[in-house]
Symmetry: C2
Subunit: 130 residues, 2 copies
């Protein structure tokens, strides 16, 4: 696929070709693996979903903890890993810390995974393309 085709799909990405555009180099794979690893845990996925789906875009940690059978330090640790992966950010206001999804972070990741065929052609199968 051409770089131009990729940009049609991945409008939010400013730098990098997608997974299906060309074989990933080691450096980029290491960087992206860190993000996917952060998503590779049910508690972190639920936390991220709670934040991403919230009307207004931000959630107090005090609202997240009661949804889990986990201590607040454990929840905070999971949130820290999501933050270190560049998916969310936070701000302390008084007693509580508020979290939001970093604009574009999820869409860039989605763009990375989107295959060229999504732009309008039929899905690629070994039978169809061999």
């Amino acid at each position: 696929m051409s770089r131009q085709e990729l940009e049609v799909i991945d409008q939010d990405a400013t730098c990098c070709p997608g997974l299906a555009a060309a074989p990933l180099d080691d450096e980029r794979a290491t960087e992206l693996a860190r993000v996917f690893k952060a998503l590779g845990d049910p508690v972190r996925l639920r936390l991220l979903s709670m934040i991403a789906s919230r009307e207004g875009g931000e959630v107090c940690v005090c609202e997240m903890t009661p949804a889990f059978d986990l201590s607040q330090p454990t929840i905070s640790h999971h949130l820290k890993l999501l933050r270190q992966a560049g998916l969310i950010d936070c701000e302390r206001r008084g007693t509580w810390v508020y979290y939001w999804v970093l604009p574009g972070a999820l869409d860039r990741l989605a763009g990375f995974l989107t295959t060229p065929q999504t732009a309008g052609a039929t899905p690629q199968t070994p039978e169809a393309t061999a």
Copy 2:
């Protein structure tokens, strides 16, 4: 967001709302975390990218091993984890095993991550929506 809006974005998904549509339940989070965990490793990401970016859609394991400083059993183990996550499939032909990306698997995952705003509105930020 409405279910209808989601379907516009996530045309390949047949079942499930996205991460930003509503808080994930534990069962779905567990299932998806397994897929992201499979992606959370640089070697597996590079293998998947090698397969996904291949013209024709499939790659012999014999072509993948030389790209890594790893044994073939290790490569095969990583490929097995990608297969168990529902991202790729394979077939033995003679001496070698050939791998391809399962049609729709990456696009479904991308659709799950895509936020509603991608459909045309401006990105959601805490400032813009608070």
